[in-house]
């Protein structure tokens, strides 16, 4: 069946039901996807399980981060209608004020992440406070009527969810029949709460034991900024009239700043609200946590290369601030890695990896031998071993065991030392190695960090730290090393603790030092003569240079040197490690192409330089121009660039035919020129309508046979 038609734009294709298989086809289908390479099935499964782990981890992170926010929100909701709850006469005094309790939830500019937050929030509220939650989005509520409809629909549906005893037909009828007004909403609320009252207490205990007798009705405005002012105002004014009958609580999701409430709502309306502000965690902090938990951990075998990580971070910082997108990019990295690298089958936990390494096929062994890092490793070995590695699969597998262990150990050490170094660098003035651990991580991955200028300067700054800072830092380092499971750091911990005790011993000496320095300064204050001042200063400097270092300074140097030695030992860039290709994903270009594409540049290149796509010598030109043999659309495009706002079609056509005739050579001047002309005309028409489709021109009525240009300048 063809998909071209002049009467229809949609075509549905259903496979033959006989051929159709059941759902397990899915897995099979995916296996088929990359059958050409080895272990594809295993790789796919590894990829899937890894991604599942990572996804659950990110969700957990999100939950943990939001926990505090949600807790305070929940307590606010509980508090807001406590008077209503108690059913005392106390709340009658509130009738006069008619204030609606409102929570302003400032969520930050990364709007795309809000959905997840709201989903979690509604879950939390369902479980703890109230079953009556309604989500409103601006795009569903162009008028107050739609808003009420949406609101009632959601509230009554949720009613069904809570006690599913009710007949579904009943709800549907009622939803259609009940007029959408606040009164009917109040009536509904009364009937619902009464029903739960009268129902058997046993049921309440099971389903909604945490809910109160009359739980508040929570209305969440997901994107407060995009609501029409009028709709919001109307809703607030109307519902404030009913606040004593209906315990309503509003939650505003705000992306910009809480000031927006006041600029959207006039004073008369905003005075009906009793607003409390809640601030969610900033997305930058969220990202740091995600990086911390996903990348700087040995929990997941998969790692990102430095360029890839930079691209992801840049997309985050410069495009969207969306952690979701960051995680999506991470997912893409995983998929790409497992898809393109046949050896990624070894990218799993150490135990499994060792097992899998033992059962590698010969082809896979050859793949390993082809790895650049492995070749480097082989070259360092003695000659017999070299031959064995390159010819005997079994020997290779044995060596692999050791290498995999090494790689694993490297990661564990790396992370601990990186954190330790971060403790030092993050407190230095001007942060030469970056404030965030991710920057330090990037620097360490990129090249040997101890050779960089920034590292040099940060060491120098570290040599000037004062004692108390140094002590706390050492203390933190000790904690980091202790918490890491690696036994290798036992010595390190011991050494650091030694340093700490030495510092404490120094206490007394340090006091003496200070006493010595005081008189010299006093001396300085006495003299006012400029010459003498200079002289003494010079002397002072001289003496300081020549002065024997104090014990504290000696110790400080020692500490810094020790840290330096740790860095040099453990923070080797990953691409110096053998077999790093197995776990590191490094092709940043793929990521940029697929996530941060530039369609206009692609079009521009194709039109201006067709040779970059069509490798034909006839198209090759020097100096960026196009040849007269280029595809029609390129010629037409190039010609139109020379025009102003309007283009005369006749001129254009003539110019085009000149170029094309010249391009086709002398035989075009034959007798059948009329025929040729028609063909050129047709080609011109096609090229022009293609340009129209691409959005470069549009027909213009300003002048006959003219088209208007839609772009300005080069593209």
């Amino acid at each position: 069946m063809s998909t071209c038609s002049v009467s229809k734009g949609c075509f549905v294709f259903k496979p033959n039901p006989k051929k159709r298989r059941v759902s397990h086809k899915k897995a099979k289908d995916l296996r088929k996807v990359n059958e050409d390479t080895e272990d594809s099935e295993l790789r796919f499964l590894t990829c899937q399980s890894l991604w599942a782990q990572i996804r659950s981890e990110t969700e957990k992170i999100q939950e943990d981060l939001n926990k505090q926010l949600f807790d305070s929100l929940v307590s606010f909701l509980r508090r807001s209608h406590s008077e209503f709850q108690e059913k005392t006469t106390e709340w009658t005094c509130r009738m006069k004020s008619r204030e609606i309790p409102t929570a302003a939830l400032v969520l930050g500019v990364n709007v795309t992440d809000h959905d997840l937050t709201f989903r979690n929030l509604s879950e939390v509220l369902q479980n703890t406070v109230t079953p009556y939650i309604a989500f409103l989005e601006a795009k569903d509520c162009p008028g107050i009527k739609n808003l009420m409809q949406k609101l009632m629909g959601q509230l009554m549906n949720c009613n069904v969810d809570v006690d599913s005893l009710e007949d579904e037909d009943y709800v549907q009828v009622s939803q259609n029949r009940v007029r959408c007004s606040m009164t009917s909403l109040v009536n509904w609320y009364e009937s619902v709460t009464k029903k739960t009252d009268s129902e058997t207490p046993s049921k309440k205990r099971t389903s909604s034991s945490t809910h109160w007798q009359s739980p508040p009705v929570v209305v969440i405005f997901k994107d407060m900024e995009s609501f029409t002012t009028k709709v919001l105002q109307d809703f607030i004014v109307i519902s404030s009239q009913h606040i004593h009958e209906l315990p309503l609580v509003l939650i505003f999701g705000i992306a910009t700043s809480p000031m927006i409430i006041h600029s959207l709502l006039p004073h008369s309306v905003s005075s009906l609200l009793c607003i409390e502000l809640f601030q969610s965690l900033s997305c930058k902090e969220h990202l740091s946590t995600v990086i911390d938990k996903l990348l700087l951990t040995t929990q997941f075998p998969f790692k990102l290369g430095v360029k890839v990580l930079q691209v992801l971070i840049n997309i985050f910082l410069y495009h969207d601030f969306s952690v979701q997108n960051f995680v999506k990019g991470f997912q893409l990295c995983i998929v790409e890695h497992f898809y393109s690298q046949p050896l990624s089958v070894l990218c799993c936990q150490l135990g499994d990896a060792k097992k899998r390494a033992n059962s590698l096929s010969h082809d896979q062994c050859e793949n390993i031998r082809r790895l650049p890092s492995f070749r480097r490793y082989v070259e360092c070995q003695v000659s017999e071993k070299q031959i064995a590695l390159l010819t005997e699969d079994n020997f290779l597998k044995e060596t692999m065991q050791k290498l995999l262990e090494d790689l694993n150990a490297y990661h564990e050490n790396y992370i601990s030392v990186l954190r330790c170094l971060h403790v030092f660098t993050s407190s230095l003035p001007k942060y030469p190695l970056g404030k965030q651990i991710r920057e330090l991580h990037c620097a360490c991955l990129e090249n040997q960090v101890w050779e960089t200028k920034e590292y040099e300067s940060s060491l120098q700054l570290a040599r000037m730290l004062n004692k108390s800072d140094l002590e706390t830092m050492l203390q933190q380092c000790v904690e980091i090393f202790v918490s890491s499971s690696e036994n290798e750091f036992d010595k390190t911990v011991k050494k650091l603790k030694e340093f700490l005790t030495q510092f404490q011993k120094l206490e007394a000496d340090a006091f003496q030092e200070r006493d010595v320095s005081v008189p010299s300064q006093k001396e300085l204050q006495k003299k006012t003569d400029l010459y003498h001042l200079q002289k003494t200063l010079l002397e002072l400097k001289e003496s300081r240079r020549s002065k024997k270092l104090t014990k504290f300074e000696m110790l400080r140097f020692e500490v810094v040197d020790y840290i330096d030695s740790l860095v040099r030992n453990y923070l080797v860039p990953a691409d110096h490690k053998t077999l790093h290709e197995i776990v590191y994903f490094n092709t940043a270009s793929v990521l940029r192409e697929h996530l941060n594409a530039a369609p206009r540049i692609a079009l521009h290149t194709a039109l201006n330089n067709p040779y970059s796509y069509l490798k034909n010598q006839a198209l090759k030109t020097d100096g960026g121009g196009i040849s007269n043999k280029a595809p029609d659309i390129c010629i037409v495009y190039k010609l139109h660039l020379e025009c102003g706002r309007l283009i005369n079609l006749v001129d254009w056509l003539e110019a085009f035919s000149t170029v094309v005739m010249a391009g086709e050579g002398p035989n075009a001047d034959a007798a059948s020129s009329d025929q040729v002309d028609d063909v050129i005309h047709a080609r011109f028409i096609r090229a022009v309508s293609e340009l129209e489709l691409l959005g470069f021109i549009k027909p213009s009525k300003q002048k006959t046979d003219h088209v208007a240009r839609l772009t300005w300048g080069g593209c």
Partner: protein, 569 residues
Amino acid sequence: MSRPEGAGSRALEVKFVPDEDVLKHIADEAGIKVRKDKTQLAVSVKKLVKKLENISDDEAQEILEEENYVAALGISAQDPMGNGSSVSGGEVYSFQTPKRSSKMAELASELAQAPGQSVASNHFECMEKTAKTPQSSKCSSSNKVQQRSKKKEFVSTTPYRLRKRLAAPDPCLESESEYSASCSEEEEEENQKEVSTVLSDQKTPAKTKAVSTPPPRNTLVKKNEDKMSNLVEEYFEAHSSSKVLTSDRTLQKLRKRRLNQQTLHELLKEAPLAYAAEIKELNQQHESLFSKWMLQLRLGFNIVLYGLGSKRDLLEKFRTSVLQDSVHLVVNGYFPSITVKSILNSITEEILDHIGTFRSPLDQLEFITKRFKEDSSVELYILIHNLDSQMLRGERSQQILAQLSSLPTVYLIASIDHINAPLMWDQAKLSLFNWLWYETTTFNPYVEETSYENSFLVQQSGSLALSSLTHVLRSLTLNARGIFRLLAQYQLENKDNPSYPGLSFQDFYQQCREAFLVNSDLTLRAQLTEFRDHKLIRTKRGADGVEYLLIPVDDSTLTDFLEKEDEDV
């Protein structure tokens, strides 16, 4: 720049072209060429960044990150993988002066020469070349050379005039500008002498100078900044004036018959596709990605294809080779009457087998969402050719499609072509779509996509209009047909009158009465309402408040229609 106020005669206008102004014009052009290579600019920006770094910690931090960003994005230039993305943004988006139409002819002749030959072609030489172009004009060739060359000169002076006009708007200049803007043939002949003096005067040397000796570059780089503001001004200057200076030639004067859709297709079929082998190779590269696309679709990404060339065949191939065993929906976005509703309808009716209607697309979407979430075994692949087409590019359509595509068991693969297509999506939609971008430049001609388009160069055959006309009329009463005939005949009688407003209602009523077709103006009105509902006529209110009636069909179709009617009777 001063000009005597009273000097309205045309001869004077020619004289007062100060050399500085001409030079300025040249310098402007050259400056823009230089602007294209932005390396110098980038270097200075970096220096600036370095200076700023010392200012404060936080700021420095940000700037450092910025540098990283620039570096990270700049990697693509060195990457062997990213072949297409080696163009810097500045090159693509740079401002340029609006060039005149004569430039097009120049470039054409330049391109007509052997590729790789330098630009140093003589001005007159290239003029002659363009004059030789095969065109069937009535004028003799020698005359035409002159005419064309004259026109060229004529147009080349326009920026100066334009600037003048904007700088000093006075009544007597108005006529001049009129004259410069509309260079119709008669006027041209009148002014030929005057203009040819211009030609011999100053401008030709100035112009050739501009082509042959561009000023040294480094001096101009320094001027970059004020050039920039200059360019911005020029942009607004060019876009603010309603007058546009282009030649007045029309296709009719070319004596070339307009091609209709069918002959166009036939002609194009005859023309061999250039670089077929290379294009095939290119497409094969893309086809090797099919299995990867399938995997990524399954993992929750949606795929969007961009790049020059029709991606229809590629997607069709994807469909026939990979999707045969699964339920899928093909949407031709370029189809002129496609709507989101029709897409949703085909999902609910044909895939979910639901009979019934919905109040709004949103309701329908909700229903679909519910069904797909309930039954996770239902899977659907959607292929959309031209997601950015006229009919689908609206905000609401895109929102609905985005929500549809965000369902876990709906897999979307789409293509976009318009240069501004990515502007359709804001962050929220982008995150719903969850795109993976794939560049698939195919260089295939957009055959299907442009076949629906009412191209301005293609003569409308009108067969569609004619058949609909006869169909509607056949269902009407005899009297009604008579009424329409009257109107049609009257319109054809007046077809040579370019300012024919239509038939006024009163006159029409009179004529109908005389022909015994109606007995009161109410019946006529009722009849006309019916016509209007079927879009057979259009009413227009004239300046005097009288209602005029028009048949919005071109004359040839109308003649055909009347002939056919006569045959029937």
